[in-house]
Each structure stands twice: as C-alpha cells, then as structure tokens.
C-alpha cells in the first residue's frame, strides 16, 4: 500500500460490511508505521465509530452509506467517517463512566481512549463528518511506555 496519498472506502450502512472497513484501516495504519498493538486499537476505534453510525445515524437502516477516508498527516493519520443520516445529539455521543458493569455504551469510550482527537462536524446540510486523528508516538515515548 502506498504511504503517500489518501485512501477511502464506501460501505453500505449494514454491519455485515464492517470487516471490509477494518481490513482497510489495518493495512493503512500498518503502512504508516503504527506498531501492531496500536493498529489493533485504531481498527477497534474505527469499527466503533462506524457501528455508531449504523446504530444511531441510520437507526439500523442498511440502505445508507458510510464513507471512510484515511489521510496521512505529518505524524500520523487523519480518519474521516461521513454519513448522510440523522445528526447525533451531544448526550448520545458522550462516553459513559466505567464504574458500572453493564452491557452497552462502551464504543464511544473506546474511540476517545484510542484517538488523539475526536471531532464531530454536524455543519453539513445532511449527516455528520466525524474526524479522528491518531498520531504516532515518538520512539522514545514508546520505549518508556513499554
């Protein structure tokens, strides 16, 4: 995979196609130098972002579309998830507290844990642009962490 330009994929708003997005995100992240553990987390965050679009923006309707773009930036990758569905409200995208063991509500927490910047742009006439930025850690920082 070329490390120079942006890549994108459009999938229907049907969860059975999420694995295609995961493969693309995995390959792009590896090609741009993220270590394997980070790649797994990036894939998870993107999966949760697209699942949220299916669940909330399209309310389970498989007839919509989701555009996923991955754009190289100087120190990492900028991902954009674009839908044409219902716009989110602030309460719906807030990560839940983790002090309660209960099903559901973890996806937004994963996105915020993994990504360095998360920005919802609801200014388009239809739908939402979700911008997710992931920076590579400096080599020294990774060694200290490990």
């Amino acid at each position: 995979m070329a490390a120079g330009g942006s890549v994108s994929i459009r999938i229907p708003s049907d969860a059975k196609h999420l694995y295609l997005m995961r493969r693309l995100v995995q390959e792009v992240s590896l090609a741009h130098g993220f270590p394997e553990e980070e790649v797994r987390r990036i894939v998870l965050a993107m999966d949760e972002a697209c699942s949220n679009v299916i669940r909330h923006a399209y309310e389970g309707d498989p007839g919509g579309s989701i555009d996923i773009e991955a754009e190289p930036i100087e120190d990492g990758l900028r991902f954009t998830v674009i839908d044409q569905g219902r716009k989110p409200d602030a309460a719906a995208i807030a990560a839940r507290a983790l002090d309660e063991v209960r099903p559901g509500g973890l996806g937004t927490h994963f996105i915020q844990m993994v990504m360095d910047e998360v920005r919802y742009d609801t200014s388009p006439e239809r739908g939402t642009r979700l911008c997710l930025l992931k920076r590579r850690k400096a080599r020294g920082a990774q060694e200290k962490k490990g």
Partner: protein, 113 residues
Amino acid sequence: MDIHVTVERTDEGHGVLEVRGEIDMHSSPRVREAQIKLLKEGARRVVVDLSGVAYMDSSGIATLIEGLQWSRREGRDFRLAGLSPAVRDVFELARLAEVFEIFSTRDEALKDA
C-alpha cells in the same frame, strides 16, 4: 465474514460455548443467541472459549457482560478462556479484565477452582 458458534455439554454437565471468527456488531447477535440458549439449559458452569476469536468489539463485550450478570443472578459460574492478546486488550481498554474469571485454556476453565 463468517463466524462459527458451537455449544457443547461436558460429561460433568458444564456448558461450553466456542466461538471462532470476528465478533462485531454483525456477528454478536449470534453469539448472544447461543449464549442465552446455553445459560437457560441450566449448566452450573458456562465456559466461553474465545481461543478462535481474533477480533472483538464493544458489542462482544456487552454480550459477555450480559452472560456474566445472568450467571451471577442465577448463582452459576461464567468463565472465559483462551483470550488472544487482541481480545484481552479490548477487555483492558474497557477495564473489565478483573471483572471476569479468565483462564488460559478451556480445560483450565472447566476444572474446579
């Protein structure tokens, strides 16, 4: 993307739910359906063998939390086995690795503590 879910009963009467594939929003309902069926069959202990699972998202975690909570209410054991590093990492991100009883292998999970 295919997922394979199988249910077994051991000679001791324990239930084993084996999942192979990737657990995401599309496939987790199949895992949930099999898990509910196994729990309702009344096994004293249920072991979810995840050694064939390469990927799990929050919907998979939610399914397992549901199984754990049901088991606690009913006074049963609910154990996980064979987590790959990728799946274990998701539990750690969710800060749930300490909440579940997690064993290296299915055989270890089936032994009495």
